[in-house]
């Protein structure tokens, strides 16, 4: 998953805890192997290799693609999973800023409009196109892990995949878990603590994977139309009935910039929290002190 992951569980049965741990680990590894942006043996890599041609995908991938397609339509093209080539350019691990020509080339290989998706066949129209499922897969994984835990009757707990949380179930006495929202700049402290009685909490932000050059931060969230990282909130956190929906909302708000993003979050009606570069905090999430 490329991030610190944790499973918090409350149970009286040691074997249930062990089974849950095994199930969650196995599921995370499965999804990582399948959708990792970095691995050469992942399905994403095979899809990229098929660019220019067609590839048939399984049901799970088809569902993810359907979801991404819907988000693309709802966001007016802002949310685009074909921005894989672009996001690779702005990856922190490169240690440098990409130059204009690289961006232009990557932009030519970006754009969901250039994709033919007729379930179950995916046709990436341009060679060099790459899918980047970040913004969906980690949140989906959290929801999946939570469901697996519930299936084996580990019913009180929280799955935490690098700050994207999915609730397994409330504490055994019925009270809600209290979770922290990470601060965008590493400080070890939570920006806020809230109750999570159901669903999931997802945070979209630049704190972990931002590229820093000459003291400036460049978000890893790239606008697929301009090829440049977005300049908006430092982080957006949303609570929804699933980590997946929370993550989608948070990512969309990040992509839209502070003005439109703020309006979008208010219109959605989901509890949310936004942090700007100057550290100011906004949003209607109710904090627990």
């Amino acid at each position: 998953m490329g991030c610190p992951c944790a499973l918090h569980l409350e149970t009286r049965d040691e074997s249930v805890a062990q089974a849950a741990k095994t199930a969650v680990l196995a599921e995370c590894m499965r999804l990582d192997r399948k959708y990792s942006h970095y691995r050469d043996d992942s399905l994403v890599a095979r899809i990229a290799a098929s660019a220019g041609g067609a590839i048939e995908v399984d049901a799970e991938t088809a569902d993810l693609l359907d979801f991404a397609a819907a988000l693309h339509a709802q966001s007016g093209g802002l949310f685009d999973i074909t921005a894989g080539t672009l996001t690779r350019l702005w990856d922190a691990q490169n240690g440098r800023l990409p130059d204009k020509s690289e961006i232009t080339i990557a932009l030519a290989a970006t754009g969901w409009e250039r994709v033919q998706w007729r379930r179950p066949v995916l046709r990436l129209g341009v060679p060099g196109m790459r899918l980047d499922l970040g913004g969906i897969v980690k949140e989906y994984a959290a929801d999946r892990c939570a469901k697996l835990c519930r299936d084996i009757h580990a019913e009180a707990g929280v799955v935490d995949l690098g700050g994207d949380l999915a609730l397994i179930g409330p504490h055994r006495d019925g009270t809600a878990w209290i979770v922290g929202i990470k601060a965008p700049r590493p400080s070890g402290q939570a920006a806020a603590r809230i109750e999570l009685p159901r669903g999931g909490l997802a945070t979209s932000g630049d704190y972990e994977r931002a590229l820093i050059v000459d003291g400036r931060r460049y978000s890893h969230i790239v606008d697929p139309r301009s090829g440049e990282p977005v300049q908006g909130f430092a982080s957006v956190s949303v609570v929804a009935d699933s980590c997946l929906v929370a993550g989608a909302a948070a990512t969309l708000a990040m992509l839209m910039g502070t003005q439109r993003g703020g309006a979008y979050l208010r219109d959605l009606g989901l509890p949310h929290l936004t942090i700007r570069d100057d550290g100011s905090i906004d949003g209607d999430i109710v904090r627990v002190d």
């Binding site: 409330p170 504490h171 019925g174 009270t175 809600a176 109750e195 999570l196 009685p197 159901r198 669903g199 609570v239 509890p271 109710v286």
Partner: protein, 91 residues
């Protein structure tokens, strides 16, 4: 039958006169509606404790139904919040 036996005296109950009861009723309803302004809002995601089985209006619907049926048959006035169910010729 003894025709000169009086009917037992029927003095009206001073504490539960309809007008007094009605006034009390209105006052408390007014209070109940004011209360809405004064309390803190609990967001839906804060309702952990309220989601418990023993915090429902009727944790056991079957038992509530049987209770209501017993009280309705044996008392002169009856009913609960909600639609009235079918009647019975209970004696």
């Amino acid at each position: 039958m003894h025709s000169n036996v009086k009917s037992p005296s029927l003095s009206p109950n001073p504490h539960l006169r309809p007008e007094r009861v009605l006034r009390w009723l209105l006052a408390v309803i007014a209070l109940a509606s004011l209360a809405g302004c004064a309390t803190q809002t609990v967001q839906p995601w804060q309702r952990g404790r309220l989601a418990r089985w023993d915090m429902r209006w009727d944790p056991d619907p079957l038992q509530a139904a049987m209770d209501q049926h017993a009280y309705f048959s044996k008392e002169g006035t009856a009913g609960e919040i909600g639609a009235a169910g079918g009647g019975c010729g209970c004696n």
